[in-house]
């Protein structure tokens, strides 16, 4: 039996093309093209590497607007076998709780799985909640901050990159693993596989198919409330320059201004 892997991805606006509205101070993402969230690129590649070695079957799952189909086709162009898009107006404005719940619900109607991969966090919200949230709703183990994975029998050996070193975890499947951004080199899609992907198409699911009551999902099912948002005042730069030999004075000046402190670590 081939291993079954599911990769959770999100299409995000390309951060290089987002700018701050000079009047309203909001993010203007209207000109930004949709890209696969960078850490999810690494999740896809981690799954594809296991496919290269074991012949696993990979499904990529995303929730988003219909335009997110392009991200799924791109994944299939790299060697992913199947794409599923969860899209429905009632899912709009979901927070990380409602998103995790919705994604987890899709597993009720999908085949069994052995490994779920997800990017560690997204560039457009950066909470890192959704991967672990799905694992909790499904009631399975999770391993975060992965930089390398290897399947051995019924277990996965996961290398986690932590602040003080690499931790190696040996975990039985089924398991959810979140991958760190930059942890591998994502491959490119090929013309042959993209043609096949476009011919094959993707599967679309809405709230009825997922049997999710509208009040559990989208904005209604989202307990997160944004209390307030503060934009710190811009400090005027003093523009002072220090020569190399004046560095001790620079340190003194910074201490005096309270910018740095001397104390016990």
């Amino acid at each position: 039996m081939a291993l079954k892997i599911v990769v959770l991805i999100k299409q995000v606006p390309d951060a290089e093309e987002i700018f701050i509205d000079p009047v309203k101070f909001t993010l203007n993402r209207s000109q930004a093209r949709g890209i696969i969230n960078p850490a999810d690129e690494n999740a896809i590649e981690a799954a594809l590497k296991i496919k290269d070695e074991t012949g696993a079957e990979i499904t990529v799952l995303t929730m988003g607007p219909p335009a997110a189909e392009t991200a799924l086709i791109e994944c299939m162009g790299r060697g992913v076998d199947k794409g599923i898009l969860i899209t429905d107006r009632v899912f709009a404005a979901a927070d990380t709780w409602a998103t995790s719940l919705t994604l987890a619900a899709a597993f009720n109607i999908m085949d069994d799985f052995d490994i779920i991969f997800a990017g560690e966090s997204t560039t457009d919200s950066g909470t890192g909640h959704v991967g672990p949230g799905v694992a909790e709703f499904l009631g399975i183990d999770q391993v975060t901050y992965s930089v390398n994975t290897k399947v051995e029998g019924k277990n996965v050996i996961v290398e986690r990159s932590l602040e003080d070193g690499i931790e190696v975890v040996n975990v039985p499947m089924p398991v959810l693993i979140t991958t760190l951004i930059g942890s591998n080199m994502p491959r490119r899609s090929t013309l042959r596989m993209k043609i096949d992907a476009l011919k094959k198409g993707i599967t679309v699911m809405d709230h009825e198919k997922l049997k999710l009551p509208p009040e559990w999902v989208g904005i209604k099912g989202s307990p997160t409330v944004v209390g307030s948002l503060k934009i710190p005042d811009e400090k005027k730069r003093e523009g002072k320059k220090y020569e190399v030999e004046e560095i001790p004075k620079l340190v003194d000046d910074l201490i005096e201004k309270g910018a740095i402190k001397i104390g016990d670590a």
Partner: protein, 430 residues
């Protein structure tokens, strides 16, 4: 049996037009584009001249993402201190809208979407490696070791015809054939643009300038176009001269252009939103490669179909028309199923009947005039001296125009016999 009727390489105006035409005639078309989404790797001034899109999208003037229509057209000569411009506005020109400023990121995406709506399969974000050949015939394309087959490949890959060169069906480009285009898109509020260029609503301005102030014999043209809420400003610099003047850099030339006393006030307060550079085809008739062969046709910039005679800079209209003509050629040949070199010559035959080949033939050699030191170095100086003497009052008795002109030419070291012969060439070619 081929997988596709036609594979079109490149989703610019040429490729998408071909794909729309083919798909709407129920042909099985694959359109492959390296950028994702289409348009993000393309650079063009750009003014879309002409109405060739009528042939594939009848209501394009209402629905296409165009910025403004060209109401005012300027041709100018800039010296270090002066600018001598011909400004053209006319009610007749206004009634027959023939130019639209466009931003290619929007236009190309829109065209590619139309191709998909017509039934073509679009794959973007993938670069074709080369043509797939069998017994000297093109049978499809190769990418990452796979071969995708088609009865015919239409190459619409733009000014840098990498696939054609890799596949050995055309010579690598020579310096003479190309220029470097550098461009900035400068954000400016709509009202400011209207005020500075004397425009209203959807009216637009398109200006092209001879940059006569460059040092070391460097030849370059500048352009300045108005979009809805931005300006497209750029320079096209001959590759030959850049190479000969190793220390001249294209980004310095665009700086010199946008800080020129007659240009700087127009862009003042604007914010650079995009900066891009691309190769531009400038070789004219002599750089046109063989346009067809067993199983392939070449369209648009890839075929050298761009035109500049010093007064206008055009390319997209040739691209669209050649794309449509290539599609029509395939549709004609499909009936008999013969895509051999001799059958494919129908493409050239059809093109000869369109303005594409007629312009290229009629203006054969024009690049030697538009790219020449008379136009780029001497003419701006001569004009400046003539104007200065005519308009500046200095208490001296007035002299005859002829005398003034002769003196101005002498200052620029241009003999009257050279002026006459070059002017004759220019008039003959315009």
């Amino acid at each position: 049996m081929s997988e596709f009727d036609v594979i079109v390489v490149g989703a610019g105006p040429a490729g998408s037009s071909a794909a729309i035409r083919l798909a709407s005639k129920k042909m099985n078309v694959l359109l492959v584009e390296k950028s994702d989404p289409p348009g993000t790797k393309n650079v063009s001034g750009g003014v879309l001249w002409g109405h060739e899109l009528d042939g594939v999208i009848p209501d394009w003037e209402k629905t296409a993402p165009v910025e403004r229509y060209v109401k005012a057209k300027t041709v100018g000569f800039l010296t270090e201190e002066s600018s001598i411009n011909i400004d053209f506005r006319s009610r007749k020109f206004d009634e027959n809208r023939s130019g639209y400023t466009v931003l290619r990121v929007k236009l190309d995406q829109w065209l590619a979407k139309k191709a998909v709506e017509s039934g073509a399969m679009l794959v973007n974000g993938v670069t074709v490696d080369r043509l797939a050949m069998k017994d000297g015939k093109v049978v499809g394309v190769e990418q990452d070791g796979d071969t995708i087959t088609a009865d015919t490949v239409i190459l619409s890959e733009g000014a840098n015809p990498r696939v054609a060169i890799q596949s050995g069906i055309r010579e690598p480009l020579k310096d003479h054939d190309v220029a470097i285009g550098v461009k900035e898109v400068i954000k400016l509020p709509e009202e400011k643009i209207n005020e500075r260029f004397n425009l209203r609503g959807k009216e637009g301005f398109a200006g092209e300038y001879v940059l006569g102030f460059l040092k070391g014999g460097v030849e370059a043209g500048g352009f300045l176009y108005t979009n809805k809420e931005s300006l497209s400003l750029g320079a096209v610099i001959s590759m030959k001269h850049l190479r000969a003047n190793g220390n001249t850099r294209s980004f310095d030339i665009i700086e010199e252009f946008n800080s020129h006393p007659s240009i700087a006030p127009l862009i003042e307060g604007g914010k650079i939103d995009e900066y891009s550079a691309h190769m531009v085809q400038e070789g004219g008739y002599s750089s046109i490669p063989k346009l067809f062969g067993d199983g392939y046709m070449i369209t648009g910039d890839a075929a050298g179909f761009s035109f500049s005679n010093g007064l206008v800079l055009q390319g997209m209209n040739y691209a669209i028309q050649s794309g449509i003509t290539a599609a029509d050629t395939f549709i004609d040949l499909k009936e008999k199923g013969n895509f051999s070199n001799s059958a494919m010559s129908l493409y050239q035959e059809k093109l000869q009947k369109t303005f594409v080949m007629q312009d290229m033939t009629n203006f054969k050699g024009i690049e030697n005039v538009t790219w020449g030191n008379l136009t780029h170095q001497h003419l701006p100086g001569i004009l400046e001296n003539v104007m200065l003497e005519i308009f500046m009052e200095n208490g001296m008795p007035k002299r005859h125009m002829y005398k003034i002109l002769m003196d101005a030419m002498k200052k620029q070291n241009v003999s009257s016999s050279r002026m006459i012969s070059e002017s004759f060439k220019m008039i003959r070619r315009l």
